[in-house]
């Protein structure tokens, strides 16, 4: 999860003085880099391919008419292009990345190495199953880990990310309702206002309607509101609840909620994005959950890659397991097999979500990570993640405004109450950039004004946390004092504040060749 900027697209305030120009446009190690379309040439290429023979084709005339008018770059230019651009990014490998709800933890390089083993990277999803027994075994082994850690009996491995896992879980609920003959009548899905945007969006994608439930003063589900909802409606399909929730708090009444929902004939979907806080200490299966996705790209350290790919295996309760989508892996005395067709033991499967069998590349990484940590290490992961967050909360609680009382789980939530009139959360965020940090998640969850959600993860040292807290303290003090310089931040980033309003007003979504001046002048 990143930022919520409802009604707050950035239009920067102009600030004075750039650092003095250079002729090249570069500055020391900071390299200017234009678009490939501006530096490449149409006949240039960075690959050497054999010359086609010019043999008779078998296209039957279905041939492309226009050239693919894209420039190429030689390999040296291409490498430089991307290396230069890369240096304009912040990354975990550069520093603390406290984006709440995103679990930006260290991505071990052993995972990358394992994922590149030819036996994983160079196998085709439609090879005969005899020739991919190791791959199927790996999926099975990972599934065992996931089921054991969550205490759930089944897992669907094919979802491609968290939101896709939500889709999986909600489609399983839908299928269960179909099986009960209640799909047409049970349409209501309860979603807390604090939920991540994907929750309501997913419910809608599955044809449900969304009914928002309130948070109480402690940042948890308001049990009175929930009970009232359940009493006044008779079309409950289920609830989607995040736990630990997006305020970074454990839903104290989790089991009661589950019981209430089940009594009302609904199912309990748990958003498992924050599983990192409890892995090894709490099993969602013990809390009455019917379905939960696990973001392998959060808890299990597969890299975010600037926006993906992820992987969202979804664990299912006994009640939902029969409806799990194809394909899945089973084992018998001959070895491992893929169940791909909706028949036989998979006769009740709700369908197929995606081509092939899921995010194998992420499976390899996640299993490598799990084996590295082991059951003992994963518990320590949760504890250190929670300890780190509480440490930040403790260090900042008198300087910023904690959104709720008491300990947090893996992330600390603050409101902007401490900031002076006119200073906004975004100003604090951008000022942190100057201090060398990626900002926390801003304006999310929506239930807190000017929310700042700080998730350090367990892979930060005390030293880094202290440095971060020192910097944040400085920025927060400026915010409290209403320091006008905050509006101009960031000053030291590769770009000044970017104009998101202009971008949205007249979207320019691709490069187009400049109009030759003669024509433009007409």
């Amino acid at each position: 999860m990143g930022m919520q900027t409802i009604g707050r697209p950035t239009t920067p305030v102009a600030v004075a003085g750039s650092n003095g120009g250079t002729i090249s446009g570069s500055k020391g190690l900071q390299q200017r880099e234009d678009l490939i379309f501006e530096v490449g040439a149409l006949d240039k290429t960075g690959v050497d391919l054999p010359t086609p023979k010019g043999r008779k084709d078998r296209l039957g005339g279905v041939a492309r008419k226009t050239d693919v008018a894209l420039p190429g770059l030689s390999e040296p230019e291409a490498v430089r292009h991307y290396v230069r651009l890369s240096q304009k990014n912040y990354a975990i490998d550069l520093g603390l990345f406290p984006l709440g709800s995103c679990t930006m933890k260290h991505n071990p390089r052993l995972n990358e190495k394992a994922a590149r083993m030819a036996g994983f990277a160079d196998i085709h999803p439609m090879q005969p199953q005899r020739t991919v027994q190791g791959a199927l075994e790996l999926i099975d082994e990972l599934a065992t880990w996931l089921k054991t850690l969550t205490g759930m009996p089944a897992v669907a491995m094919s979802p491609k990310a968290g939101a896709h896992g939500e889709l999986c879980g909600m489609l399983a609920i839908r299928q269960a309702l179909i099986a009960r003959g209640e799909a047409a009548t049970r349409k209501r899905v309860l979603v807390p206002a604090s939920a991540h945007g994907t929750n309501p969006a997913t419910a809608i994608q599955c044809g449900f309607i969304v009914d928002e439930i309130k948070a109480d003063a402690r940042g948890r589900v308001d049990m009175d509101d929930l009970k009232a909802k359940l009493e006044t409606t008779d079309d409950i399909a289920g609830i989607m609840l995040t736990n630990p929730n997006t305020c970074g708090l454990f839903e104290t009444d989790m089991k009661d909620i589950a019981d209430l929902i089940h009594e009302a004939g609904g199912y309990f979907y748990c958003d498992g994005a924050n599983f990192n806080a409890i892995v090894g200490r709490v099993r969602p299966g013990d809390l009455g959950v019917d379905a939960m996705h696990i973001n392998l790209h959060k808890t299990f350290s597969t890299p975010h890659g600037g926006g993906g790919p992820g992987s969202g295996p979804t664990v299912l309760s006994e009640a939902l397991a029969p409806f799990a989508p194809v394909p899945y892996v089973i084992k018998d005395e001959d070895g491992f097999h893929l169940v791909e067709d909706i028949e036989g033991e998979a006769a009740n499967a709700f369908g197929r979500m995606v081509a092939f069998h899921g995010q194998m590349g992420m499976f390899v990484r996640a299993l490598t990570y799990m084996l590295s940590h082991g059951a003992d290490g994963l518990k320590q992961v949760a504890e250190d993640a929670v300890l780190n967050a509480n440490y930040i909360q403790a260090r900042m609680k008198d300087i910023m405004t904690p959104a709720f009382d008491g300990y947090c789980m893996h992330e600390a939530l603050f409101s902007d109450a401490f900031a002076a009139e006119g200073v906004e959360t975004i100003d604090i965020a951008k000022a942190l950039i100057d201090e060398g940090y990626h900002p926390m998640t801003m304006y999310f969850p929506l239930v807190v004004h000017g929310a700042m959600l700080v998730e350090p993860t367990e892979t930060e040292s005390k030293q880094e946390l202290d440095r971060f807290c020192d910097a944040l303290t400085g920025v927060a003090n400026k915010a409290a004092a209403g320091d006008p310089s905050l509006k101009g931040a960031p000053y030291f980033a590769p770009k000044k504040r970017l104009d998101e309003t202009q971008a949205a007003r007249k979207p320019i979504l691709k490069w187009t060749p400049p109009v030759p001046e003669a024509i433009a002048a007409e």
Partner: protein, 447 residues
């Protein structure tokens, strides 16, 4: 544990600052009955790199790779060569270990590459605009169907008999959940044009594929016209992105939405994922697109920069009103795609496509020369279906014994298609003439 920086002293100093006695304090909200005490059973404890690496290597060694011998498996994923520099680029820490570029001032690297990616995809598909990627081709296809329904405010979609069955399944699933009627035409090797007969005033879109799952290439212009006549949309699908360099692309056939699988450019096979869904459409439809879009803007100094834009389509802003629930997409695979395309350039890309086609033609010639083989695909790019007198599963098993992975049996994808003897075989620039000769020779032996 090597990934955990806190030392025991750190932990107690921090607990001290916090004023907590132990980490157990933080878990007080967990119902007592749900607290795990001690170890989780059935899972091993932590291990060093060497042990873990050996474990993974042991599993990897149990698989036959696409480079171990002659290899002709396709049907939606293709064995292509990925330049070494592409893998180096996507392993740059700054690309690999960063998040979605929500803070544009410190994410220009990701953003500029996405802008370049969108430009490349739009040009390759000959469409107006492209988004910043979907999970894969199959989910892109499903999203295209529901988008078409949103755009047209209609609730019916028609799928061709040549649409990849996995794509059809994913599309059906999403549509049906949303109460959209899905008409699937019967499996057909050369039936894309049939779609034209199935458009009516209730149709939101028709979905055709070229090259289709049997490899057949088709100019969909007639079905585009038929769709447009009824104010329906044409969704044009491809699973082999390299075909765009030689075969008529969606935009040249009047497609309103083009979706496809981008794996072939820059991404290894990896047993089916992660891949990268390509999604492009006409300018008119842009505000109904799913997924992220990167746009150009300026910063406070007036310098060009890039940001994520039109976010009001998306779940994190619009929640239940969003065009899709997608959040994490296929960023790094898109980077692999765009960097490979940058190396190829348009000219190199066309040459690559030509090579693929010629190799597949050579393969077809060689197999056709084997008595009993009948090529079923009338026009193809780098893949085709063929029939032998023998059950395809048996043929493939016997080929495998001879070290040849000969393709995909059609019945695995189309169980009810009455295609028991049909094999779908693909050839790419990685296929050598020796591979082809080995295939033909082995096939001769087994049928």
């Amino acid at each position: 544990m090597r990934y955990l920086p806190l030392t025991p002293e750190d932990r107690s100093a921090m607990l001290n600052t916090i004023g907590a006695a132990s980490v157990d304090d933080f878990y007080q909200d967990v119902p007592q009955s749900a607290r795990l005490d001690g170890q989780i059973h059935g899972l091993p404890d932590h291990q060093g790199e060497l042990a873990v690496e050996r474990h993974m290597a042991r599993l990897a060694a149990k698989n036959t790779t696409a480079s171990d011998g002659p290899f002709f498996v396709g049907a939606g994923a293709y064995k292509h060569h990925v330049p070494a520099s592409v893998d180096m680029i996507i392993q740059r820490s700054e690309f690999l270990t960063t998040y979605t570029p929500y803070q544009p001032e410190i994410a220009q690297g990701t953003l500029q590459t996405l802008f370049e990616f969108q430009t490349q995809v739009a040009e390759m598909t000959a469409m107006d605009v492209a988004n910043a990627s979907m999970y894969d081709g199959s989910t892109a296809c499903a999203e295209a169907a529901v988008m078409a329904c949103r755009v047209t405010r209609r609730k019916k979609v028609v799928l061709s008999g040549g649409l990849h069955p996995h794509y059809a399944a994913a599309t059906r699933l999403l549509c049906e959940a949303q109460g959209i009627e899905v008409i699937e035409l019967p499996p057909a090797i050369d039936g894309e044009l049939e779609l034209a007969k199935h458009v009516d005033d209730a149709t939101a879109c028709i979905i055709g594929q070229s090259p289709n799952v049997f490899g057949t290439v088709t100019d969909l212009s007639p079905v585009a016209d038929a769709a447009h006549d009824k104010k329906a949309l044409l969704v044009s699908v491809f699973t082999e992105a390299v075909s765009l360099g030689l075969v008529t692309p969606p935009g040249e056939m009047g497609a309103d939405i083009a979706v496809g699988e981008g794996q072939s450019i820059g991404n290894p096979l990896t047993f089916g994922g992660p891949y990268v869904g390509l999604f492009a459409c006409t300018q008119k439809l842009v505000r109904q697109m799913p997924g992220r879009l990167c746009g150009e803007t300026v910063d406070a100094d007036g310098e060009r920069g890039f940001v994520l834009t039109l976010s009001t389509r998306e779940q994190h802003i619009r929640r239940d009103k969003a065009t899709s629930n997608i959040c994490t997409n296929s960023g790094l695979c898109a980077l692999a795609f765009t960097s490979h395309m940058t190396l190829l350039g348009g000219a190199g890309f066309e040459q690559l496509a030509q090579l693929n086609h010629e190799t597949a033609c050579d393969l077809a010639d060689a197999l056709e020369a084997v008595p009993g083989v009948k090529i079923l695909t009338p026009r193809f790019f780098n893949e085709f279906a063929f029939e032998t007198p023998v059950d395809a599963e048996a043929v493939l098993a016997m080929l495998e014994e001879r070290g040849v992975l000969g393709g995909v049996r059609a019945s695995r994808l189309v169980p009810d298609g009455d295609m028991g003897n049909v094999i779908i075989a693909a050839a790419t620039e990685c296929t050598t003439q020796d591979d082809i000769a080995a295939y033909a020779a082995a096939l001769k032996e087994v049928i």
